[in-house]
Amino acid sequence: MNPTQPVPTLDIQGLKITLPGTARPVLDGVDLTVRAGETVALVGESGSGKSLTSRSALRLLPPGAVVEGAVRVGGEDVLAMDADRLCGVRAGSVAMVFQDPRAAVNPLRRIGDFLTESVTLTGATSRTDATARAVELLGAVGLDESVLRKYPGQVSGGMLQRVVIAAALMGDPVLLLADEPTTALDVTSQAEVIALLATLRERFGTGLLFVTHDLDLAAAISDRVHVMYAGRIVETGPAEDLFARPRHPYTAALLASTPRMEGPRGRLAAIEGQPPDLREPLHGCAFATRCPLATEVCDQRAPLPAAAPGRPEHRAACHHSDLLEGSAVDA
């Protein structure tokens, strides 16, 4: 990374989280940066640690978690700061949008109250100013102010997710964490929400960390992609490069098992087996037991991330990356 560049919005270095009763860390040396105005996708399946990684930016950690490494938001370490400062980060600089908008709002309160409560509660803003700001942001997400007086049950899921995004922007965050924000939406509403996030990112310069299981969506919207498996980042790189020429067998296998609109129909190349159990220690590569390229070394030594020849931004943690390159893995 270029040292002359400004401080990244989010900078996670060597994040390792261990939970009680597990034999291996749930997050194991995660490195990830999001710069201002950048969209970074974090892709992985259930249990890969993608949500935990994004939540660490708000220090929302499971009880009993033992944490190593650093999570810096605008240069400040979230893991080390005191409670007051953390409160400020949670109320202002970092906002989160969850998968299910219905679970993120109180169904018994009007949308107007939901939008303004975060900023009025801290006493930073008056009710009138907060309402004015809410109206402005509703406009930005394509809703009019009549929504303020409605209850969550009176609007559709797509509309409510836009309300939740507007609410997330109330505190002028520098970083927006979006955890599967469109998974519960219809495809056409998904396009609306993505279009909206892209516009807002340009307008406000917000850094966006987009957590998703959908590879095609990640490819379509993000500047850079991180692929997670069993608590580790297995591959990272510019979206186009990573999907066109994956250097980790897991990324390649995920791409091959996704039903697509192009390419051959019929049987999918499913990945046999299951991700490793948290109760069992890992000695080598976490993907080795399911990997077609695995050899002895994969069981013994965990591979370190290495850059692709001539493409320093594209890194993969695999002993056999070079075997993948050039083969017909994206079929």
Partner: protein, 277 residues
């Protein structure tokens, strides 16, 4: 019934269902050939799930008919009584999106299958059939004693499929059955479903919003919007040359490189404007 060509295992004719002023299902007709696979796609509120629930018998139709192997399951042909109800259940089975909600958390896998078998086929040897079913859906004997919470999402969905197959139904209705699964597990289940269809000749009614899945596992497709069918035909043909603007919008909405969400959002609003008039 005089019919030419392949027999239809399931036929839906002029189905209508209103909830108050909302016409949830509005004159829906389609047919599923023997051992065929039919996809019903549409967004929330399109009526696809209500249609599926009427086919299964969880919902009643205001008008129209559902026929399985040419025999009506709805309307005047529908008689009460336990035996008739069980017979209807043996014709059509359903697999839901969330196997966690459709399995009893206190009942083990083997016990759940045994219960279904005992209800429908009293007095038969079930131990062998249970093993057969577990084998068919790729679950080992270790899973047999497990409770739902001890299984992964994919394994639970396999249990739900095994239980549906237990009564040897003519039609399996899959309502977003792979939507909640991870991509790699989803691929395993889709392959499993393809194998089962090949082996047993069962017919699938696939309710989904995922066009990639539809393309992968169905022969024919019905596109629904606001309760009505806007387009239907061979999956391959509809997806490569969609005739209805709504089908085109759905296709364009699928994320891919070079995807333009702004244009889709605009097209969506334009289409809504047209239909509102």
């Amino acid at each position: 019934m005089p019919e030419n060509g392949p027999r239809n295992v399931l036929e839906v004719r002029g189905l209508r269902r209103a909830f108050g002023a909302v016409r949830a299902v509005d004159d829906v007709s389609f047919a599923l050939p023997e051992a065929g696979s039919l996809g019903v796609v549409g967004e929330s509120g399109s009526g696809k799930t209500t249609t599926a629930r009427i086919v299964v018998g969880l919902e009643r139709a205001d008008e129209g008919e559902v026929l399985v192997r040419g025999r009506s399951r709805t309307g005047r042909g529908r008689t009460g009584g336990r035996a008739a109800r069980l017979a209807r259940a043996r014709e059509v089975q359903m697999v839901f999106q969330d196997p966690y909600l459709s399995l009893d958390p206190r009942t083990g896998v083997e016990a759940a299958l045994r219960e279904t078998l005992r209800l429908h086929f009293p007095g038969r040897d079930h131990a062998r059939r249970v093993r057969e079913l577990l084998d068919q859906v790729g679950l080992g004997t270790r899973a047999a004693d497990a409770l739902p919470r001890q299984l992964s999402g994919g394994q639970r969905q396999r249990v739900a499929i095994a239980r549906a197959l237990a009564v040897e139904p003519a039609v399996l209705v899959l309502d977003e059955a792979v939507a909640a699964l991870d991509v790699s597990v989803q691929a395993q289940i889709l392959n499993l479903l393809a194998d089962i269809r090949e082996q047993t000749g069962i017919g699938y009614l696939f309710i989904t919003h995922d066009l990639g899945v539809v393309r992968c596992v169905t022969d024919e497709i019905v596109v629904m919007r606001h309760g009505a069918v806007v387009e239907q035909g061979r999956t391959q043909e509809v997806l490569t040359a969609p005739g209805h603007p709504y089908t085109r919008l759905l296709l364009e909405s699928v994320p891919r490189p070079g995807w333009d969400p702004q244009a889709i959002a605009a097209a969506r609003r334009a289409l809504q404007g047209v239909s509102a008039k």
